[in-house]
Symmetry: C2
Subunit: 259 residues, 2 copies
């Protein structure tokens, strides 16, 4: 493999380039991003030079799409290439569907991230020890490269991936967002007595909307099925606790009546 091209040289794309270099890849790494990002990515050593998507598609043996989901979908719309193509989108079914016309595409999802984005935050070790999902068995070169990053490779159907991440990632995001919104709306003064619990539970709420709008737009049915089941669970938890709490508050009422 002589040439890798990375479209979208941000946190994930930049880390891919740094990880490939650290793993000993000695070929050329091309980047497709804004001129300002290309400049920073070259300075970081994540890529060798910038190019257009068209030229990258022609020159690369492997093309890694690390853009936002909606941009990946746009990119795939007109993409023609003989290269191995994979991506880093957080949902897979819509992207795999959009990539049908490509002969050597395998959907991917490196399950690694950070709260800060951009190539400035990229690091060679970002994928180490983290799961990296492929939607079908990847070509040997791709599997070897990703394995050399220290990632744990998982192969599963795009539909299975999307159902699972709706529960493990997208629902927790909505739960956190709603909790932050509810406290802000109903008890802003409660921040004075807030501890690490509330801080942990609302950390996700600071995730940028523009990223997960795309995520949830492309995983709508799974996310709302999970949200419905969660709301039902809260309702039943409430009933379940009621019974238990009723006994306990009888005990407390009794105690206080005895004062």
């Amino acid at each position: 493999m002589q040439t890798i091209a990375i479209a979208g040289v941000g946190l994930i794309g930049g880390s891919f380039g740094l990880a490939a270099r650290k793993a000993g890849f000695s070929g050329t790494i091309l980047g497709v991003s804004s001129p300002r990002t290309i400049e920073k990515a070259i300075a970081r050593g994540a890529i060798d030079c910038g190019t257009t998507l068209r030229d990258a598609a022609g020159a690369a043996d492997m093309l890694f799409l690390a853009q936002p989901i909606s941009v990946i979908l746009e990119t795939l719309r007109d993409l023609k290439t003989e290269a191995i193509v994979t991506d880093a989108g957080s949902t897979k079914a819509a992207i795999c569907n959009a990539a049908k016309s490509l002969s050597r595409f395998v959907g991917g999802h490196p399950m690694a991230g950070k709260e800060i984005s951009g190539v400035e935050a990229a690091e060679a070790g970002l994928f180490c020890g983290r799961p990296w999902v492929f939607t079908s068995e990847p070509p040997a070169e791709l599997r070897e490269l990703v394995a050399s990053f220290g990632a744990r490779i998982l192969v599963m159907k795009a539909e299975d991936h999307d159902r699972m991440v709706a529960w493990s990632s997208h629902l927790p995001q909505l739960v956190s967002t709603a909790l932050a919104g509810a406290v802000h709306r109903h008890a802003p003064d409660a921040v004075a007595v807030a501890g690490p619990g509330l801080r942990d539970m609302t950390r996700l709420a600071s995730s940028p909307w523009d990223i997960w709008r795309d995520i949830i737009a492309t995983n709508h049915d799974n996310v709302y099925a999970a949200l419905d089941a969660y709301i039902a669970r809260l309702e039943s938890l409430r009933e379940g606790l009621d019974a238990e709490f009723e006994r306990a508050s009888c005990f407390n009422r009794e105690l206080r009546e005895r004062q």
Copy 2:
């Protein structure tokens, strides 16, 4: 102040004793707990010796109740003492109500904790920088002692405290418990693709039921008001996102139809 008594020498009670010593308290520190706990607490230097509640109530200038809420309520039922009495219960209205007959009681809530409990986990610095709520202006000796721990003293009505912690602490607990339960029930396989988000969002779910059964039993109305408002928020968030997502998924459908 010559003698402090601590009822319930666990994480909070033990840390109170260690913090008092570190702050230079040179009088006697009595402990009221099980023989095994007393032994460990003396070994840790958190107390000087064990005694009964009755003897502690007679001998102490200040009595600190650091037991579970239901045990504090029981203790207060029969307590007769001239000492300054305060407590560490996580809810305040029920306890303050149960303490009406005591002339020198002020409700307290040191908002500090750890995931491990017991005097083994106690530390002199546990309260440093953390809020410590009192339900009325504490006597000078108590205020000075707690201030010497480095705690941030807040004075508020018991009812205001209970309303605020329902939002800042008790609701996040239920939200986390329900999330863990829902994922376990509906998508146990999603753990394979879980990241730090789900881990953070379910960390509270490991809290021991016996502690927060008491908490929620004594803050029932506030907790369920918060839970209802949160469920309503999830419902409206869902509707709110629907509109936004509908636009985005039209965009995606359009893209995919163009393949």
